[in-house]
């Protein structure tokens, strides 16, 4: 998993049947220090409650699909959870 910030949501009416009912979020990946780390992507919401502004954890690839039930769906990024607390021992110099 990695950290990300939900910067928005999106709605698509026309999409694969297997994606029906899944909430779609726009997520910007972050470094361990919560700095921006690359371009945003679209992820499904496996935490069920994430929304704009939330600090979240996300997973990619097959594990993203496995976060859903049924799991054999065409999804490549998914939000795992909403972060309550994020503590680094030594924030300077961490990636």
């Amino acid at each position: 998993m990695r950290l990300g910030r939900v910067i928005g949501t999106l709605v698509a009416t026309v999409k694969p049947d297997a994606m029906k009912g899944l909430k779609l979020l726009i997520v910007r990946p972050l470094t361990a220090n919560l700095a921006d780390d690359g371009e945003p992507f679209v992820a499904t919401d496996a935490s069920a409650q994430a929304s704009s502004g939330d600090l979240v954890t996300w997973e990619a690839a097959r594990e993203a699909a496995l976060l859903h039930d049924p799991w054999f769906i065409p999804v490549d990024h998914a939000v795992v959870g909403i972060v309550d607390q994020h503590a680094l021992e030594n924030p300077e110099g961490t990636p």
Binding site: M1, R2, L3, T31, A32, A46, S47, A48, Q49, A50, T57, E59, A61, R62, E63, A64, L66, L67, W71, V80, G81, I82, V83, D84, Q85, H86, A87, L88, E89, N90, G93, T94, P95
Partner: protein
């Protein structure tokens, strides 16, 4: 597998049910000499009771994680699977 150092903790209340009750740690990748690589990090589930500051081995591949968790449907890619006691690289050059 990735050699890393535990840099911190991440706590979530609202999250996928599989992750409930499982400790998540933030691990920074380190070079064999023990210095932080400075760019790569990963959030991994802790299987070994690792703590902040310890050098660990992270399995960063889903099928390996599912074997260790003994669950073919576990939605997990990264696990801390070992606490490293010692790294010995006799020739310090060209190890990164």
């Amino acid at each position: 597998m990735i050699l890393g150092r535990v840099l911190g903790t991440v706590v979530s209340t609202v999250q996928h049910p599989y992750y409930r009750g499982r400790k998540q740690l933030l691990v920074g990748a380190v070079l064999p000499d023990g210095s932080l690589d400075g760019t790569r990090y990963i959030l991994a589930l802790d299987m070994v009771g690792a703590g902040v500051g310890e050098t660990v081995l992270v399995e960063d591949e889903g099928n390996s994680a599912r074997q260790i968790l003994a669950d073919p449907k576990a939605p997990v890619r990264s696990l801390i699977v070992a606490i490293v006691d010692e790294v010995d690289v006799p020739v310090p050059d060209r190890v990164a």
